[in-house]
Subunit: 196 residues, 4 copies
DNA sequence: AATGAATGAGGTTTCATTCAT
DNA sequence: AATGAATGAAACCTCATTCAT
């Protein structure tokens, strides 16, 4: 029956770690997180054998929560609206908090790999939302999931740097959404713009 | 006039540091950079009394080089084209290499503050390019310099995460550029989109 | 209750540090002390987060042991004798090992401040001993605790410089004690001598 | 003719070093002293091949100046007064600034050795002053030069620790001088007091 | 003879991880 | 299963000394 304690500890650690990483960056000493969670370092390391493992777990945890929302959106809303809502949601929550992704990257771990195993497939959900929106004519047809993910990451990063100014954050999202709606452009300046 | 050696060392350090930070992240030991530049740690610390100072210097150095290009564009090209070219250029060179900006941010140094003092004013150049493009009708009128900078940071970050796929990088820029051209949107999904 | 180990380590460190500082000065690398105590550097720094803190702790530790003796003297001996005995005791043990006090002073920590908080009040004990001795007519009445402390420090320093010659050390103490007995002098040479 | 510059530099360095050591302790970086003297480090090291050598030189320089004064006193004043004046003078100027002696000691250099070569013999002067004073009955007869030197060192150290309180410094000197006048004491407390 | 940039050993401190209790 | 003290590699930085100019 000690299992109950253990599971509660794990959850608390995950929650606290997310909070602390967000507030103070991923460089906080492991001990700080343990203390904030009200456990000893030893306990933390029992649950996550490595700091890296903790990073991964927090990242995955976040992703899973997002995946759940995506599922609900797919089920409940109509195509165009669903896609845009999800996009906004991700960015507004500064969903991926780039710090994490960056920290993982630095550790030589690809965020894509980590995400791969998520229930239902995070990536898959985005794909579904995107395709439907494209079929409904709400999003230009020449882009793919990877483009969307890249944009999400980018906007999240932008939001982080300008976290002081909410108006800026909103305007950047607005611009990207606008860009997603219109048809493919022809020769902007150098002609680079058209998809290959 | 030993200054020749000194200046060469400083330049070499800056160059090497930029390279190493790009390849291995900003967590590399200071000593590594010194070794790579062929000098002792002491020399590095004589030039940059703190690791943070080195980071700042690399960042500034990059910015200055960009500022020079901006000046040339302002002089030579016509408004709309100049703006888009500069934008593309920045992103394609993954100009701001987010690692740096992130590291600076973590260290409590605001990129905005650092950039403020740059020769000729990097920010000022962007402002000029933007205003001209807006007057020429090539860019929507409701955005400001900070929005552009945020978008640049975002795209740079996006580019970093997906550095394998050049096509993705290009497409994301295309989308943002498209978004910059059109007039402000009204009620995308939730109506959040319009600037307050 | 791992505390047993911890306390043992702390005690061992204090003991070893006192010994090492005495033998080789306060410039010994922290690591040396750790090694001599049979622990890792980390352990040392867990107990004393700063070298300065270690110095302080050693100093305080010594003071506390002295304070205990002072208490016993106050309780057991008659006034004049008690004062002189304590004085001799302090000096003979080269009680304050000036190295420490000097190191602390250099570090900007005033010995007075540190001593202030000691259990039972080291300074208070001296005051008591002094006052009683003065009331008993064994010590001239125009001096205060600070004077006594200054003299102690001075004699300790003198003892250190001449540690080879026990006879010299003894004679200097004798002289000071003699000087403490007699009444205030009038015009030695320049008349500087009398307290203002 | 470059010799003039060289000698001036050496003098300036000695003067500045004494000042800086007094104000900030002997741990100041060599470079600081060079800067304060308006020369490069290289120059400093040409004159004093080692920091230790600089320390020694400053010490010696001070001693020589003192020796000169002693000579004048021996010539001009009457025995008792001469001795006490010299004693006071040394202490009031905090003449030996213990830091120096301590630093030398730490470096494994005996202050006595360094002083040995002084013109006229510093120690010899004290001996002369003392003997005369004793013959004139102004100082008790059972003490020797080493005792006096020890007391001087001690008082200088005491003065250093309590440099804030001039009254304390003066009183301690007064006590010691009083002690030097009176005849040998018999059994203070334990009988330790009498010279062996 | 003077300069000050370069050197690099070495000092203090941090922190992920292990392990005795 | 939990605790938190212990560990020690490694980070950053300082400074006496050398050496090219």
């Amino acid at each position: 029956m000690v299992r109950a304690d253990a599971r509660r500890n794990r959850a608390k650690l995950l929650e606290v770690a997310e909070q602390v990483f967000k507030e103070r960056g991923t460089d906080v000493p492991t001990e700080e997180i343990a203390r904030a969670a009200g456990v000893g370092v030893g306990t933390l390391f029992r649950h996550f054998p490595t700091k890296e493992a903790l990073l991964e777990a927090v990242f995955l945890n976040r992703m899973e929560r997002l995946a759940e929302r995506a599922e609900r959106l797919i089920a409940d809303e109509e195509p165009g609206s669903a896609f845009f809502t999800f996009f906004l949601m991700l960015v507004e929550q500064s969903a991926m908090k780039n710090v994490l992704a960056a920290a993982l990257a630095e550790a030589g771990i690809n965020a894509k790999d980590v995400t791969a195993g998520i229930r239902g497939g995070f990536r898959g959900h985005i794909a579904t939302l995107l395709e439907r929106a494209q079929q409904a004519g709400a999003v230009r047809g020449d882009i793919g999931v990877d483009d969307v993910i890249a944009l999400l990451l980018g906007l999240a990063a932008a939001g982080e740097q300008t976290e002081l100014d909410a108006a800026v954050a909103r305007r950047t999202v607005d611009i990207v959404l606008a860009g997603l709606k219109v048809a493919p452009q022809k020769d902007l300046t150098t002609g680079l713009a058209s998809p290959s």
